[in-house]
């Protein structure tokens, strides 16, 4: 019993505005992209014939194929780095820090930047990475190099460095949630059953946090795949990944090509999410 009756018409009508808004702003537009990606001809018209030309042209271009592969490799690299780093941090914060105040302080220090603008955070990396930047100056000051190196700004390394700082929290958050749910008695029970710490971790703790790991990986995957701003800001115009291609095509008025890339991106993401859902039930982590 609550202020809303189960299965009442009121519940249904309360849901309608939000549902309509999401349909109009997300579902219909996504279907439109799919439709436009099959448009033939040159006009922007709903009467365009449906053809496969846009796809054959795209897949026929070796440069674009390489770009897909590079995007996937780049994303996988970040998933690995953020995943390991995020797990270690989550484990430290939940398991190793005993002092509640210290834990809250560290946790806030971890999470607060996430609530500020991602764009500003990406820009903040620029003065760090340049040939005249903080990192190069520091390395030269330490005598490790005698000439500025150019591997940071306008490079995949620099992009990865910034993205690691942006997305590690996403890999870590769900693990924190899962770790905090594990009763300490499970670890202790395993120890009294003669399991040393390493075995306790791999046989008990890790399997129980696996759903959190998977959700975190999905979040990093989705965000890195779709991140064009960090790539544009730090990579300049020299580096492009799949998401930047959409931007370039759109600005070049190549709507159909932009739609094709969008569909490919959506397909990659859908495959990723479905694969993850086979491993864990996402609802268990949600509300």
């Amino acid at each position: 019993m609550s202020t809303i009756r189960i299965r009442s018409p009121a519940a249904y009508w309360l849901a309608v505005p939000a549902a309509l808004w999401m349909l109009c702003a997300v579902v219909v537009p996504a279907l439109l992209i799919l439709w436009v990606s099959f448009w033939g001809g040159r006009q922007f018209s709903a009467a365009s014939p449906l053809v496969l030309d846009n796809y054959t042209r795209f897949f026929g271009n070796q440069t674009y194929m390489n770009l897909i592969v590079q995007t996937l490799i780049h994303t996988a690299t970040l998933m690995a780095i953020c995943g390991v780093l995020g797990y270690c941090i989550a484990y430290f914060l939940v398991v190793k820090v005993r002092n509640a105040k210290l834990r809250t302080a560290l946790f806030l220090a971890f999470i607060i930047p996430f609530w500020t603008s991602a764009l500003i955070r990406a820009i903040a990396w620029v003065p760090f990475l340049g040939t005249n930047g903080v990192i190069n100056n520091a390395l030269m000051g330490l005598g490790l190099i005698d000439r500025p190196v150019e591997v940071f700004l306008y490079s995949r390394t620099g992009i990865s460095m910034a993205q690691v700082s942006l997305y590690t929290l996403m890999a870590s958050g769900p693990v924190v949630y899962m770790l905090a749910q594990i009763p300490p008695a499970l670890r202790e029970a395993a120890m009294t059953l003669k399991a040393p710490p390493g075995v306790v971790f791999w046989r008990i703790i890790f399997p129980l946090t696996l759903p959190g790991v998977v959700i975190g990986q999905v979040l990093v995957f989705l965000n890195v795949m779709a991140d064009f701003a960090t790539v544009a800001t730090i990579g300049g115009n020299k580096i492009a990944l799949l998401a930047n291609l959409i931007l370039n095509f759109y600005e070049g008025a190549q709507i159909r090509a932009a739609a094709v890339v969008s569909v490919i991106l959506m397909a990659c993401m859908l495959i990723g999410v479905v694969a993850a859902m086979r491993v864990v039930d996402i609802r268990k982590l949600g509300a």
Partner: protein, 269 residues
Amino acid sequence: MRSRLTGWALGTLTVGFLLYQWMPIATLSLLSFSGPTGGTTFPMNGVSLHWYRELWDASIMNDFKPPLWRSFVLALACSAVTTVLAVTAAQAMRGKFRGHNAFFYLLLLGIMAPGLLVGFGVALMARMLGVEPSWNGTAFLVHVSWTLPFGFMAMLAIFNRFDARIEEAALTLGATRWVAFQRITFPIVLPGIIGAALFGFSLSYDEFARSMFTTGADQTLPLAVLAQMDRQLTPELYAIGTATTVTSFFAILACIGSLALIRRSMRRG
């Protein structure tokens, strides 16, 4: 106790990452105070408010004040709509209507869908309908589709923690459902709602991926920053970044404060 070594290793890693995460933000803020001859990196060539003054007396070309105003109004509107729709949607979810699972996934989709694609799709839709993209039209539509799911999830979490027996008590005391919601449920979850509203505000205020194709000629602040990045990186951008970040900190503080408030009121209840 026995695994101190692991603890130290993980602790070093964590603190190292925190430094890694905060250093650029700190540097950005520091460089925004560099002297008039200072560049986009060290040395600062003095300490001044020059770049903030530049920002204020900007020329028409790179005046950030109108975009700032637009972003602010847009975020305010998004926050208001999000709050109302999130509360009704979460309340509806508690009613477990037919298809409430699909409804949950529909909202989850709003979080998972990449912003650039959502913006692209809405731009296509606007073009088909013959609507000109604008910051207070199409951009508003996509911004809410981004902030609403977060507000919804936050409200679900808040309602989950909420002890429904309090409502039952009100109902057994003769309150109608609507009165019970107004007089009991709403005041108790109010701090949570305020938190969700602030969260919605900051999400919309910082949003740029969805805005790319849906804003039209009158840009919002993040788009103006991106455009300026494209032209030239100046310490002015650092000044904007610092100002924005400081504003976000205040919003977060307010958020944490309201969460602490809800926790306390729940404990008292």
